[in-house]
């Protein structure tokens, strides 16, 4: 391991903690990443907005990436209205319901349903949402 990382108390504390599902908005990539499990995964690109993460060993759903979040909200204010709850938090399960309708991509409806179930109740704070 790189010596500085070994001496990084915050990083070492995180590595020592038991895993629980996590989600985070990334300002650099304008994307939300969610992990339900901490296992090696493959990304499966569903469309221009969503990639689902499946476990490398058996293909079960373990996470996802939602891209272009702020841009999508700027382009589709109705979607933003549904998906954002109080304190500027994004409900991931609401996103997958609304996006399935909005994108009208029938091919991925069952996968969006699966993602909705996996992200039930998950909220991700967004820094700000452009009007």
């Amino acid at each position: 391991m790189i010596a500085e990382l070994e001496n990084d108390a915050e990083l070492q504390a995180i590595l020592a903690m038991p895993f629980k599902p996590i989600a985070q908005y990334d300002e650099d990539g304008d994307c939300v990443e969610f992990f339900a499990e901490n296992v090696p995964f493959n990304a499966v690109r569903l469309d221009d907005w969503v990639a689902m993460y499946v476990a490398e060993n058996d293909g079960r759903l373990v996470g996802c990436l939602i891209k272009r979040v702020q841009r999508l909200f700027r382009e589709c204010p109705d979607l933003q209205e549904i998906v954002l709850v109080q304190d500027n938090k994004m409900r991931l399960d609401y996103f997958f319901v609304a996006a399935a309708v909005h994108f009208q991509n029938r091919e991925n409806v069952h996968r969006y349903n699966e993602l909705k179930r996996a992200t039930e109740g998950v909220e991700v704070p967004l820094p700000c949402v452009a009007a």
Partner: protein, 157 residues
């Protein structure tokens, strides 16, 4: 083997291959590093070793993710890059080591026009092997492939 990244503002700084210039620095931010570390030591190894390997020795580089194209900068649309490679190993969870990637696995690393890594993950290509996939254009995902140059097939690293 790739050069390991060096600590940078609490995150990591890598040297990325440039097809027409010197290697250039690319970073994983502190916020991203801590987020990915929550997955465990295997993911940290993947970020340090696998991301380094792909950034330093990509098999292909694609430019301009389709939906980001109107945010690209520069006269020729120089925007977000996707480095793709087949690293030498794939890390397995909880210290159980690593294995060789199979013939369908690739590892894309997505980099913004600010040279920040925002996503890095394994994918399995469909209906073909990874070498064939990396030599194709994939217009449904990217604006163009910038490395290897379409006229220089067979000279990728």
């Amino acid at each position: 083997m790739a050069t390991l990244p060096i600590p940078h503002n609490g995150g990591l700084r890598f040297q990325a291959f440039h097809p027409a210039d010197k290697p250039f620095p690319v970073v994983v931010t502190r916020k991203k590093l801590l987020f990915w570390a929550k997955l465990g030591a295997w993911r940290l190894e993947e970020v340090k070793v696998t991301v380094s390997e792909v950034l330093e020795h990509p098999h292909a580089i694609f430019q301009g993710l389709r939906k980001e194209e109107d945010e690209n900068k520069g006269p020729d649309g120089a925007g977000w890059w996707c480095f793709v490679g087949v690293p030498s190993t794939r890390f397995i969870k909880h210290g159980s080591g690593a294995r060789k990637p199979n013939a369908r696995e690739i590892f894309p690393v997505f980099v913004t026009d600010e040279d920040v890594v925002y996503n890095a993950r394994w994918e399995e290509v469909e209906n073909e092997n990874n070498v064939v996939w990396m030599r194709e254009e994939h217009p449904e995902r990217f604006r163009r492939r910038i490395f290897p140059d379409p006229g220089m097939q067979g000279q990728s690293q």
